[in-house]
């Protein structure tokens, strides 16, 4: 069988289209988990209680709380108000794409952003302690944007 030029083009175009859609699917999958550089998925999230996620995520080099993060922290604050005997440690983390010392400071800043928000919702300072692990304790060991977004986090952990 002999292909003429247009058949060739057609085959090439369809292969190209298939490749494109595969790419689009791949990036759509990541897009659904990262918004504006902040992780929005639930893969690594654990729960302090039913409906109370334990962690919030940050954009690269940032310590600003997103709308979703503030919602999570309000849930945590409500849960902490109900369980007044429970104290928590806020563990701040950074991704691996930064110098070690700066990341220690950044992790501390992130955990404190979460702490400040809990305090504005009525949680006493002496129930909250803060620790930064910088980039020392990633939850996802991959070297890719999705893994890094999961690692830029502040995790609320029961201290007692």
């Amino acid at each position: 069988m002999i292909f003429n030029k247009s058949t060739y083009k057609l085959i090439l175009a369809s292969i190209f289209a298939m490749l494109l859609s595969a790419c689009a699917q791949q990036s759509a999958k990541i897009d659904s988990q990262i918004q504006g550089d902040v992780y929005t998925g639930t893969d690594t999230v654990e729960y302090l209680a039913d409906g109370v996620p334990d962690r919030v995520f940050f954009a690269t080099n940032e310590s600003v709380l997103t709308t979703a993060s503030r919602e999570t922290l309000r849930k945590q604050a409500a849960w902490l108000r109900k369980n007044s005997s429970i104290n928590v440690v806020l563990e701040g983390h950074a991704d691996e794409r930064g110098t070690r010392e700066y990341n220690l400071a950044l992790g501390e800043r992130r955990a404190n952003a979460a702490k400040d928000y809990l305090m504005t919702y009525g949680i006493s300072e002496n129930r909250i302690s803060v620790i930064s692990y910088g980039k020392e304790r990633p939850v996802d060991s991959g070297s890719n944007p999705l893994a890094w977004s999961k690692n830029r986090r502040s995790v609320t952990v029961k201290a007692n």
Binding site: N61, S63, E96, R97, G98, T99, R100, E101, Y102, L104, A105, L106, E108, R109, A111, N112, A113, K115, D116, I131, S132, Y133, E136, R137, P138, V139, D140, S141, G142, S143, N144, A147
Partner: protein
């Protein structure tokens, strides 16, 4: 008249010959023609060999010391040690009086010979450095020490030779303290480790029960400051390598980190993080007086003193992003010095005072570079996927740093290794460690 003629003749013949033959190694440029050097085995007699084999389990001590020297010189990239198989003269004869024709035949321009003797429970090592073309001795020295110190003798000889041929102090009789790493990325086990500059005599100083980071030498003695997560409280500690005694020095209610000694070794400068803000403080080790150096709502970290102690370079994101700053040691006259594209971190002042080494992140790549202390003359020495934390050799010619590799989503492919590079940007090489390694810090010369 006749005498004058003879004198002129001698001056013409000998004088110019000597000038051109004097060996010199230019270390200010990348050296593409390393100096061919013959390191003869040091001569040791049968008795010495037998005793030392029994005492310290080293066979052929003279050969082993010559290998230490050879490896040191080779690693500088400035010297090309020649194959011992090509040597025509026996070590003992060469040490007395080399037959220079034999050595120039194999293209050696410099020759090292020596002798090892065992006397009164000590080893006495002597060596000579010869200029092969000028056919003369350039240097002769002898050292006496306990047998177990034999590698150090090799390093001290290397320093003497390096200094004689380059005009600058060596960096071989030194040690590297670093963090030894093992285990998966998510639960990395880290221990403090120390080794000779050439990778030998590795000792582990902590057990790995708690996370330890960023050890740094005191430039005046064998003390180390580092960050430990002992009892899950990240604090700056002090460790005496000789006695193993550790004590906390930055025990404030918050995190203390990024410690370094002042050049006189009497203070520790570090970051203190509290309520989301990191500032720079110093602590006097004698009277424990703490002084605040910066007071700014941004992250101020990675401080490093100039060698005269008058200035401090540090890392701050007060402009919005991580950049390098210089200030007077009392915290006044803060001035930003990095203005290139990208983020700048971990500034370290050169022991010579003229340069600041740094880590740079630009468009997803990490660089180790140097710039003048006013920020001009930025020069990037090496680019990679991830590398940071340069530390200077005591003579300010070489930087050691660590490099990490990319991992796949299962964490496979990840490694952390020590690397060194010459200030010229040439002679990049891995510093071999038996485990993964990071956060290297170079000691000052142990002897002088």
């Amino acid at each position: 008249m006749k005498t004058i003629n003879i004198i002129t003749f001698l001056i013409f013949i000998i004088f110019p010959f000597k000038i051109y033959a004097l060996i010199e190694v230019d270390i200010t440029r990348g050296n593409l023609n390393p100096l061919p050097i013959a390191v003869s085995s040091l001569y040791s007699d049968k008795n010495t060999n037998e005793v030392l084999k029994k005492e310290i389990k080293v066979d052929k001590i003279g050969y082993e010391i010559s290998k230490v020297i050879e490896n040191n010189l080779k690693a500088t990239g400035l010297f090309n040690p020649l194959e011992k198989k090509a040597f025509l003269q026996e070590p003992d004869v060469a040490h007395l009086k080399p037959r220079f024709e034999d050595w120039s035949l194999i293209k050696a321009q410099a020759l090292i010979t020596g002798k090892v003797e065992f006397k009164n429970d000590k080893v006495r090592v002597e060596f000579r450095l010869w200029d092969v073309l000028a056919a003369r001795e350039m240097m002769a020295l002898a050292f006496t020490t306990v047998p177990n110190n034999w590698r150090r003798i090799g390093h001290i000889i290397s320093d003497k030779i390096y200094e004689r041929l380059t005009g600058e102090k060596g960096y071989f009789d030194t040690r590297i303290i670093y963090v030894s790493e093992a285990g998966p990325k998510t639960q990395r086990i880290k221990k403090l480790a120390i080794m000779d500059q050439d990778g030998f005599n590795i000792k582990y100083l902590t057990l790995g029960n708690e996370l330890v980071l960023t050890p740094r030498f005191n430039p005046t003695n064998q003390m180390v400051t580092y960050l430990s997560y002992f009892k899950n409280l990240p604090r700056v500690y002090l460790l005496d390598i000789e006695t193993g005694i550790q004590e906390v020095v930055g025990d404030f209610p918050g995190m203390t980190f990024a410690p370094r000694f002042s050049p006189d070794g009497k203070k520790i400068i570090m970051s203190f993080a509290k309520d989301g803000n990191s500032d720079i403080f110093t602590m006097d080790l004698e009277n424990r007086i703490v002084e605040r150096i910066t007071n700014h709502p941004s992250i101020d970290t990675s401080p490093s003193y100039s060698p005269d102690g008058k200035f401090i370079t540090f890392n701050s994101d007060r402009s919005g992003y991580q950049q390098i700053y210089v200030m007077k040691s009392d915290g006044s006259r803060v001035k930003r010095i990095s203005f290139g594209n990208g983020l700048y971190g971990t500034p370290v002042w050169s022991p010579r005072g003229d340069l600041i080494a740094f880590t740079k992140l630009h468009k997803g790549k990490f660089y180790i570079g140097v710039m003048r202390t006013d920020g001009t003359g930025e020069r990037l020495l090496t680019e990679n996927y991830y590398q940071e934390a340069p530390s200077w050799s005591p003579n300010g010619r070489v930087l050691i740093f660590y490099r990490e590799t990319k991992s796949n989503s299962d964490g496979e492919g990840f490694s952390a290794k020590l690397w060194s590079i010459d200030l010229t940007g040439y002679n990049e090489r891995q510093v071999i460690t038996e485990t993964d390694a990071s956060d290297p810090s170079w000691s000052s010369l142990l002897s002088n």
